[in-house]
Symmetry: D2
Subunit: 318 residues, 4 copies
């Protein structure tokens, strides 16, 4: 069997561990494995690399993706899709394993609809795929954000300052919530819930009265720019503040053990699916177990925000 | 309501996050919270500290336990237990929350049996409590071990050497398995499965023939000393090797975001249990959800080793 | 002898190690040591804390400053200075050790001019005190910046993108130069040297022609906003780019071993100076040795930029 | 001009940065550069690799050495040396740059004595080359050791235990001294100074009386096994203790910014020397400046132990 593997969309720590697992488990099962460079674009440009056991040596601990990634508009057009299918058929690729976020998962679905066995592995730091409890890269991004907040707190406490920190997550507040709970942020503002800057101001005032002279407020990028929030808070509290936008820092770095294991196991499931001829599936974690779901139903699901964790963060950061 | 909280047994990263959550959630619910120092011993020596919101400021990110921990033989005697109960009653402590490993959980059960409402939170790096999918400190210990292996691999690869690394875990191979899968160790030896040094030697030979001139073998402390394994392998392969015993390094360090969240949430559940008057319970994660089980049934369960992950580690580290 | 110690200006990792060394070396020499909170402001508000050996336990590894820091305009006025001197005299403080950047060093000079023995220790991440080869906090800030760039490179390489990263340093390019040399940044823009965005663009083009499809450009904050530079480069190269402003992240975090040692030794020198009755001195490193210079001459010196390192960075990052 | 570069002896973090600098600065100066694999052995086995700009892409941040290293007895024999010279001549190699510790530096001298222009760059974590204030890898090793001690202190403090930690350094106590000063170790035992376990015991007793119930004692490997020291202390104090041997962990890991810069600049000096036809030189840092000395005189020098830092460590860790 010939399997192609690609990474697509925003890069996420652990993607290399997933590629490694596809390659080695594929070869273990007597498959030929090809790496496609730069995501779906590489199918169109025929950037296929034969992968050996050694091709993925010494990559499990590396951030980013050795196959590189890109966004590709052409692939979404009917002509692009025709070309993709033709290129895959000519090379006799039997199956494609796609590692990426929701757009990439849709791409896998499209290939599968056109008769190329395709399965998807959720790789995105945003943890915004409703069908799975966790995505590859999320744990690393949360730790990176959490450690950055720890560092900023050193300065915040030394200067008794208010910091507003903007975290990634596209339309999801998952990174902000997890990093905020883990780092003890005094307020967390996420797109899933209405926010009230008057209440945030009151919390700040309450803290100051109790003698806690510094505070850290997290803003998920899906809400607003941290600069806007900072300006609004300045008006209300008349307290100076500083803004930090963590940005792409959150994407990089050596993956945590959690992400390496998650990636290895999800990719292993993907190879099993392909070997079993089951296309159109997304590998997921549900109820703490590795399993898989139909891509189309998966993408129809809406993410449920963990309000319990959110409320707990409020209580604990008082 | 008056709640006492203590940490007992080996320290684990995240214990401070758990103590913080007990204190703040307790106070939020109008309880008085007391920290007991040095585990059960502090009940006997009456080392109780009134905890305020500020008592647990700036501790969520710190390793070890601010309440300290100790092993206490006296507490296990009938006289010791009588004294403990008397001390708790005199201070009108209504409930005790115990954070620790299996011995500590048993201690909570003993208190509960004697009429002091007691619940337990599983805090141990070993992840050897069968009733819960994960314990506080495990994720940090695995990351510490994984990062250490990453560093050792630099040297192993540069010198083309064989390293035998001994990891913690008491009778459990959980740390060795997770760190080995995450760091791509070439062989993992755990107490849960029979091991065959001849097979390990054959794997080493196979690697060398394919040109992979360095290897890393992990040994869980529950199996044997890494020095013994190293001597046996030396006989078989005639290849020099180096031994590293990671030891207590694995217990320390700032907890990962995962452990801080796990600890905060488990401790929050414990406070809920106490408020609801439910004693003799152990907070656990089952099917990826926070819940609780009866301590006595929990301790009767036998841990199931994740053989699937073990087999995958073998395939991927070829 | 009664010694007061304070930290002033922007916080820098290692300040706690310096405070610890003043306290313990002072007590070792039979002095009474007082910590002044919030820099010079604490002299005015009489926020003096008697320090014991244990007051500085477990702080050597912590970022920020346990004495806190602040900017204080009142202290710079004649009336403020009078009050400061009066407060110090009434408490019979014999000497003040000031840890901070150039403004703080000037403050020490002012106290010394008014008859209070005062010495200064250079603590600032900016490394912009010409009289000393290195300041406390610089090494940690450079490592933090360097590790951040390493992470961003993961994403830059995966997406083949151009990143513009703004680093701290006030009017100095020292952090940008060191972090850029250490992380292999493709271009470094500093305030000490004229820069030519056309040349930067040509370097980018050259890289692309040779197949290096991602690049990282560092901009010291003393030059311009990274956003402005990014906009200018976009015009010239027509290549998309991403901007990251590292900001206060660079101030925090556990100090490196280098900064802990530097801080301990500089603070120890400061205590020796005070014991010897030598005021108005700044502790420095010159020719790799710990020594001290007159504050007034020190502040008159102009920093020399390390052009050799700058040229080397260009050659090596090709 | 044709330049060969090799890394030899124990690997040290920063060696890759040095190799990168030799390659890129060499090519910048129109040289052909060859990497020799596995140290001097590679000259004998003719394991020469032509290096391009891209051969050293993405290596500056990596631990170990991409050229690998080995000890080679044959090279030290007259026959081996003849073969080495013959191999270098046949390939028309004009100069060899050797990165390594004292044995490796001697090897460079031997080549130079036989008419092959050879210069040496001091790369060893041990910092035991008297002629230079610092060697490549030392700063990273000290930080690794320091961070490990920080982690162990979490557990030591939680359990009020005594830990004995063995650090690397061959016959030098430099790593132990620096890590001990930086991490606040309660006692440091080095080969350069006589030690008195009775005094260490008295210090321990003194600490306990003052209520400091945990302690960390560092032992440089050049003194004795930490296990022996632990047994002796157990006899004297009757206090339980735990032993940790950090071992090869200290060699690996991503180099610090300091080591990357040191390595880049030393390697750059080495290329300058070679271009200027100056053989038999060792690149060093003296008085905080990059310079070079005659290898033979360099190796005759005896290292001076920094007793002042040692005494300070004692005072500060009380």
């Amino acid at each position: 069997m010939k399997i192609a593997v690609l990474t697509s969309g925003g890069d996420a720590p652990g993607m290399n561990a997933a590629v490694r697992a596809v390659v080695r488990k594929g070869i273990f099962n007597n498959c030929e494995v090809f790496g496609v460079r730069e995501g779906f674009r590489g199918i169109l440009t025929e950037d296929f690399i034969p992968m050996q056991l050694g091709s993925v040596a010494d990559v499990i601990q590396r951030g980013g993706t050795i196959l590189r990634t890109a966004r590709c508009e052409e692939f979404k057009t009917p002509a692009g899709m025709d070309k993709a299918i033709a290129n895959l058929r000519r090379r006799e690729i039997d199956a494609v394993i796609v590692i990426g976020g929701d757009g990439s998962i849709r791409g896998a679905q499209a290939l599968n609809d056109r008769g190329i066995l395709a399965v998807a592995v959720p790789g995105t730091i945003d943890n915004d795929i409703a069908a799975t409890e966790v995505t590859i890269g999320f744990d690393t991004a949360v730790n990176t954000a959490c450690n950055a907040i720890d560092k900023i707190r050193d300065t915040a406490a030394s200067h008794q300052r208010l910091f507003i920190i903007e975290l990634m997550g596209r339309n999801s507040g998952a990174i902000a919530l997890a990093a905020g709970l883990a780092a003890g942020a005094e307020s967390i503002i996420v797109p899933e819930l209405p926010y009230d800057l008057d209440e945030v101001s009151r919390r700040l005032e309450g803290s100051r009265r109790r003698g806690k002279l510094h505070s850290i407020i997290l803003v998920a990028e899906g809400v607003a720019s941290a600069y806007e929030i900072a300006a609004e808070l300045k008006k209300r509290t008349n307290q100076d503040n500083r803004v930090i936008v963590l940005g792409h820092l959150q994407r990089g770095g050596s993956p945590t053990a959690f992400d390496r294991i998650l990636a290895s196991r999800m990719a292993s499931e993907a190879v099993d699916l392909v070997l079993a001829g089951k296309g159109g599936r997304l590998v997921v974690v549900q109820n703490g177990r590795y399993t898989h779901v139909d891509i189309s139903s998966a993408l129809a699901q809406k993410a449920v925000f963990d309000s319990e964790a959110f409320e707990l963060a409020k209580i604990l950061s008082i």
